[in-house]
């Protein structure tokens, strides 16, 4: 028992309510998981990058829903605003900016062969990763004790911020320098060149 678990009295009614909660959350999980996998498959199968980007947005939004199910409230908002909002709109902006016609797309003749061959190569690795995940302690339990969600401000802005600025201050500063360098690099690379250079 830790401080993030809500203190619930284990009466019969509460237990039944908890079981219902868990069932509802499981259904929600399976719906969102199916959506995200479908979006990812669409991303790697669509020929035009615009369609791929649109189906990738579906994946990102359903991943945000999964973060909410894992009671990471701040990450839910950040995923929606930064990933599905900012990064994807940047990508879609560039795709539309380049005005890609169907004739500009590269011919991908052996796509099916590459897909099947890649799947054959990747499948044992996926099985191996699954075995590892299964063997980790605690991964096969139902979450928590009769509660799917963790309350008491777990994953809230204030708590995550406290952890970020207490324990992760140096990585935070390094990230800020990285963003600055990326900004300067993008301006230098994509900016207008002087004639004769």
């Amino acid at each position: 028992m830790n401080c993030w678990q809500p203190r619930v009295r284990l009466t019969k009614k509460n237990i039944r309510k908890g079981a219902l909660d868990i069932m509802f959350a499981e259904w929600l999980f399976f719906g969102l998981a199916a959506l995200s996998v479908l979006g990812a498959i669409g991303l790697i199968l669509f020929r035009h990058p615009m369609n791929g980007a649109m189906s990738f947005v579906v994946t990102l939004i359903s991943l945000a829903g999964l973060y909410a199910l894992l009671s990471a409230k701040l990450m839910f908002a950040v995923q929606l605003i930064v990933y599905a909002g900012a990064i994807m709109s940047l990508i879609i902006f560039i795709i539309m900016f380049l005005n890609i016609q169907n004739s500009d797309l590269p011919v991908e003749r052996g796509k099916g062969i590459f897909l099947v061959g890649g799947a054959v190569v990747i499948a044992p690795i996926a099985m191996f990763l699954y075995k590892i995940m299964r063997s980790l302690p605690g991964t096969r339990n139902v979450m928590g004790d009769n509660t799917y969600f963790v309350g008491n401000g777990f994953g809230d802005v204030k708590e995550v911020g406290l952890i970020l600025f207490n324990h992760w201050l140096l990585p935070f500063e390094i990230i800020s320098i990285l963003l600055l360098i990326a900004l300067v690099g993008a301006v230098i690379m994509a900016g207008k060149r002087e004639a004769g250079k």
Binding site: Q5, E26, F29, A33, S36, A40, I41, L43, I44, P49, G52, A53, F56, L63, L66, S71, A72, L74, M75, V78, Q79, Y83, I87, L90, I91, I94, I95, L98, L105, P106, E108, K111, L115, G118, I122, L129, M133, R134, G138, T139, R140, N141, V142, M143, V150, F154, G155, V160, I163, L164, H167, W168, F172, I175, L178, L179, A182, A186, M189, A190
Partner: protein, 98 residues
């Protein structure tokens, strides 16, 4: 169940690898890399839920920041490529060989 989330993360990661190795469109390859980053994020947040500590969420936030930096640089490279060569084929990157 924690294991379901981890399995979903593995599936998404493998789909990302498939996209990188089977497609030749620069944008699709780039978005597949973003998909792999997202799968790693899902695993981070799942582990943070498993151990009921929020360090995993902080790490996922840093991954998002790195993805944003990567997006800006990669899109600058793609714009340069399109301006100079007029194609969106990853094979054209082979002229970077010294």
């Amino acid at each position: 169940m924690i294991l379901n989330y981890l399995t979903l993360s593995i599936i998404l990661f493998c789909l990302g690898i498939l996209g990188v190795i089977s497609r030749r469109n620069v944008f699709t390859v780039f978005m597949s890399i973003e998909l792999m980053l997202n799968a790693a994020n899902l695993a981070f947040i799942t582990f943070s839920r498993l151990h009921v500590s929020m360090d995993g969420q902080v790490l996922a936030m840093m991954v998002i920041a790195v993805a944003a930096a990567e997006a800006s640089l990669a899109l600058a490279v793609v714009i340069l490529l399109h301006k100079h060569k007029g194609v969106l084929d990853t094979n054209i990157f082979s002229l970077l060989k010294g």
